[in-house]
Symmetry: C2
Amino acid sequence: MVAVTGRDNPRTYRAAGVDLDLAADAVARIADRARRTFGQPDGGGDAMSPAAGIGHFGGLFHLPGDPVRTLVASADGVGTKLKLAFVLGGEAHAGIGRDLVNHCVNDILALGARPLFFLDYVAMGTLDAGTLDAVVGGMIDACQANGLVLLGGETAEMPGMYAPGEYDLAGFIVGEVPGGRAIDGSAIEAGDVLVGLPSEGLHTNGYSLARQIIGLDGDREHDRAILAAPLPGGDGLSLGAALMAPHRSYAPEIRSLLDRGWIRGMAHVTGGGLPGNVPRMLPPGLNATFESHRWDAGPLCDYLVTAGELAPGEAARTFNMGIGFVVAVPAGVESDILAALPTARRIGRVVSTDDRTQTAIGGDPQW
Amino acid sequence: MVAVTGRDNPRTYRAAGVDLDLAADAVARIADRARRTFGQPDGGGDAMSPAAGIGHFGGLFHLPGDPVRTLVASADGVGTKLKLAFVLGGEAHAGIGRDLVNHCVNDILALGARPLFFLDYVAMGTLDAGTLDAVVGGMIDACQANGLVLLGGETAEMPGMYAPGEYDLAGFIVGEVPGGRAIDGSAIEAGDVLVGLPSEGLHTNGYSLARQIIGLDGDREHDRAILAAPLPGGDGLSLGAALMAPHRSYAPEIRSLLDRGWIRGMAHVTGGGLPGNVPRMLPPGLNATFESHRWDAGPLCDYLVTAGELAPGEAARTFNMGIGFVVAVPAGVESDILAALPTARRIGRVVSTDDRTQTAIGGDPQW
């Protein structure tokens, strides 16, 4: 992949090798075909009907034979943040393990689910016990912190599939929504306020473009030197440390809001950024406007946007721009929430729209 | 990895890049650490206690707040059978998708579970919509055949992580054991008979060694020519077709036996072969002897053992040797089972042993 910059060839996530439009098409096609498996009788003759399928942050599954209990499941990876862990080694691998678990926890949290258990898949070319122990150790730490059982996993040794020292991993989480009531955004109304919780760095998205912007080239010594340099505006934090900042779990803060009944919908800001994820919680006929002057993207996003000469819309679709989790709440509780969670910020509001293709998202001049 | 043959350097799975002993050590270490997450309170205050954790074919999870209902979950991949699909293309990708689902179905079937839902993780360097559609199409076909809902998944585009045209994938399955009663092998007694159900080819294990034996070198044209050649003794079947034979689901046959209450324990023959997997169902103090004259390994295993000059124990730990699924039954029902399932074979029996390190498995001269 050749890095291209300048007015004629603006730097984009697509040019860095990640085509979100193609991915969205593929996911839509898969979701359509996967519906064939919904509601079919299982071997025991019960009808199964997922309340929500592929496309939301998790899949809802009504337990057969029970009128209430509903499971929520999600699968995820950590993307090419892995490539930075390969360069940095050591504690970075444990961080990757924690990132994976927290990413999964946040995905089902976005439907109001409490986590139950987690399974992992780790694939390496040649089994490296030290790296594996670090990754799994990180997963176990995060499972404990989230009250989650690490129930099993698969460790695959696949010669010729991964470069020496490299690996991929995937996580799978199952949780349950209390009382069978998922918070799926259907209660959201025009006029509701969008409250954002801050991210720490990029979490697990946008790394293919970030790696290109900072000039990593795959040579370990060269890449280590780049990552050891200070992040401009980062108070002495190295670029590597800023990029490896943890994908944190929002469960403690969000549960406190859920307990008060304030939340009408939630979005976990992952691939696609705010404009790609906030609409996933919105009912038909509604859209979101973002008030980007109300919060800071943070020094890492600021640096990447500047150094990469990114168009605002491209940056917003690639990076989380400082916001990791979004809740939609009635306007009347905005001040209560901001008082309860000092780091939270109002980031926008829900608006009515007759045509979802003419949205303030993505095309908004603020991006 | 250099292929080595001859008496001084016997060809082994380890030399082909897969170290089962190292993997077993790693899994044991992970299981030990993962127990820290068992029984911890979740956010709601319920105690959770997996009945069986990492190490069995699936993890058992008692649903909090219900005295009976028990879920079973498992994570799996398909190993380097993928490398053959990369060479053969087309329908081979759909076969990989079906293999993944069936592998997962068999894993939880080994505990007596009915499948509920499935999620996938597919990672590519550059998103190839045609390949992705084929893989997912295969998964959907197999989900439908097994009465299983494809509830969600993650498609990851990871530039620089996978070679062009290559991908990895992982599957996650959740099922439930009827009445909360898992068949975990605890009822197995010395004197019980081991009945094997035939595999079709290698299923999804041993491909790193098989690829080395048949001389694949990564050059697509060269490799296609090798795979197009007829399998010796294969009635005109090509080597490629024999190697891509599906990892089949044993659910239909096994359910008919479960309904009659005949089964005391089950083993899915995956990595580690018969000697690596049959002991996973056995209670302490028991072991297995195999009567390998009672069944045929089939033309593919026979060819690989001969062409690879494999020691019998090495072959048995690497390939399934013609048996894909094993059930332990009381001796009194052996003839009934063999009459009900014409392709089934008695393959050995359960014996008592005072010292499990001195076993008939692996060290048995029959291997």
